[in-house]
């Protein structure tokens, strides 16, 4: 019998949204932190005696950085919260795969992170008089959708790590800023050393942000935009497929060894 998965998806997202919207941490990640990062960029520009700021990196970039922080800290800590609250065993014991559950949660987390991006767009338009160049809206929408897909794939990847290792939490706290730097959300990757620029090419988010930034330009370089889109999709799919196999392996492993709560 083929099951209709939509009610399950809807309920899972509903729970996730309720948990996040009533959570002050999510507010801090989606609203406060991007505002602070933008403000630091703005005051640094004033310190340097500049009247104008690089609004793509300082305003929009901080919104995307907010999406990244939200995704990192919500997706990764979802499963840890399950472990702490004793619901992890129920999740693993249920007939639905961990991969499905975490995928839906990651999707809800990505949508939540969009609040951050939307706020940055509102600030850019209302305070800095930014307007999307005429005719760019379709490119912007495609770039945004592809970026969200990239975030989703990375979110699923991150969400699985606490199943793989308890120790991963120690290192994950330190990922936020390094990945934020490699992706070039808040400053161009070209400022980084050459080896870091190469490293940045391995993350779909750097390509995704390049694509999004390109869609804001009045003279769009279409071939370059296509490359950014394709690279984002390609690398994201590599992460997605890798995570799918990792998930199956881990789920089998913890069921066979019974080490669910000890990993």
């Amino acid at each position: 019998m083929r099951l209709n998965r939509l009610p399950f998806v809807w309920k899972q997202m509903n729970v996730q949204f309720r948990m996040r919207t009533l959570n002050l941490l999510a507010f801090g990640l989606t609203v406060t932190q991007p505002v602070i990062f933008s403000a630091v960029g703005y005051f640094l520009a004033r310190t340097a005696g500049r009247a104008q700021i690089d609004f793509i990196h300082t305003i929009i970039g901080s919104g995307v950085m907010g999406m990244w922080s939200t995704l990192l800290f919500t997706s990764f800590f979802d499963l840890r919260a399950d472990r702490r609250e004793g619901t992890l065993e129920l999740l693993v014991g249920s007939p639905t795969s961990i991969f499905s559950i975490l995928s839906i949660r990651a999707f809800a987390n990505v949508l939540l992170g969009c609040v951050s991006f939307l706020l940055s767009m509102i600030v850019a338009m209302s305070l800095f008089g930014f307007a999307l160049p005429h005719g760019n809206f379709p490119y912007f929408l495609v770039s945004l959708a592809i970026m969200l897909f990239g975030f989703w794939c990375i979110g699923i990847f991150l969400a699985h790590w606490p199943v793989v290792s308890r120790l991963s939490g120690l290192f994950l706290n330190y990922l936020e800023l390094p990945i934020g730097m490699l992706t070039g959300f808040m400053f161009p990757v070209s400022l980084l050393p050459a080896w870091a620029q190469w490293l940045s090419m391995l993350t779909p988010l750097s390509w995704a942000f390049k694509g999004l930034s390109a869609s804001f330009q009045s003279d769009i370089d279409l071939p370059s935009l296509w490359i950014n889109w394709m690279m984002t999709l390609g690398i994201s799919l590599v992460f997605l497929v890798g995570t799918f196999f990792m998930s199956k392996r881990v789920q089998d492993m913890i069921r066979v060894t019974g080490e669910l709560s000890s990993v």
Binding site: N23, L25, I36, F43, D54, Y174
Partner: protein, 266 residues
């Protein structure tokens, strides 16, 4: 009287020891050291590149500011987390029910964070010298160390205030996180306070850390005691005000929680 002082000191040290055991004894040296290296470097680089994008002339200002923020972050977040952690692990009611005086019981827990903050700062200073060419050759090292110690202590007052919120709300840790990132703007870490609007400058000077960071910067550039004494004393006084306010708030919230029986319900 002497017996009371002895008992308080014993409790303070025991509290610090158990706090150390709970926070660090289980950790292996690898993740601990990597945390001490990875986080400061990431933070310094992140704001350094923001400064580069903005065209800041003196990037070392940002590097040094972020080094000096480390002991303060430990003090604010560490102390707050200690109290909210008791709530998370369901041990807060036992502590509240115990007859032990609250001062040594909770301030003892902050000792570990003060020491850890100092260690973080030393590690970050070494990294700053090695990777960012921070020049300490003209520094007044003794005075710099004293300023860093002062920052570690004064920030605990803010941590105590934020931690006290744990007695009345589940969101104390989240509030602490938000206040902690506000320090990137308000404490003069990344840019001088003068570029802020007047009302933000007023907030900045009413916080601990602002004067302490200014004093530490001056000491690092070779200033003597007479140059920084005003800033140092100001920081000390503000820090004491925050510690007393935090302690008073804690006692008040404790009483409120005992009266309405909502110590773990809120």
């Amino acid at each position: 009287m002497i017996k009371r002082i002895y008992s308080d000191i014993r409790l303070y040290i025991a509290s610090a020891w158990y706090s150390y055991r709970a926070l660090y004894a289980w950790q292996t040296i690898g993740p601990y050291i990597s945390g001490k290296i990875a986080f400061p470097i990431a933070q310094m680089l992140f704001f350094l590149y923001l400064g580069k994008l903005a065209g800041v002339q003196n990037p070392l200002y940002i590097v040094i500011g972020n080094i000096l923020l480390l002991p303060a972050t430990n003090g604010v977040a560490g102390v707050s987390m200690t109290i909210s952690g008791e709530r998370d692990f369901r041990t807060l009611p036992y502590l509240i029910a115990s007859p032990a005086p609250r001062g040594p019981l909770f301030l003892g827990r902050s000792l570990v964070h003060i020491l850890d903050g100092l260690l973080s700062t030393i590690a970050a200073l070494i990294l700053g010298v090695l990777f960012f060419h921070v020049d300490l050759s003209h520094s007044n090292l003794g005075l710099t160390a004293l300023c860093i110690l002062l920052l570690s202590v004064t920030s605990c007052g803010m941590g105590l205030i934020l931690g006290s919120l744990s007695l009345r709300t589940r969101a104390a840790w989240e509030i602490t996180s938000m206040i902690s990132i506000l320090l990137y703007i308000l404490s003069g870490v990344n840019f001088p306070i003068d570029v802020l609007p007047k009302f933000l400058q007023a907030i900045s000077y009413s916080l601990p850390l602002t004067r302490g960071i200014q004093a530490a910067r001056l000491a690092m550039s070779g200033a003597t005691w007479s140059t920084i004494s005003q800033l140092f004393t100001g920081e000390l006084l503000i820090g004491l005000v925050y510690i007393v306010a935090g302690y008073t708030l804690f006692i008040w919230f404790e009483k409120l929680s005992l009266v309405d029986g909502q110590i773990e319900a809120m």
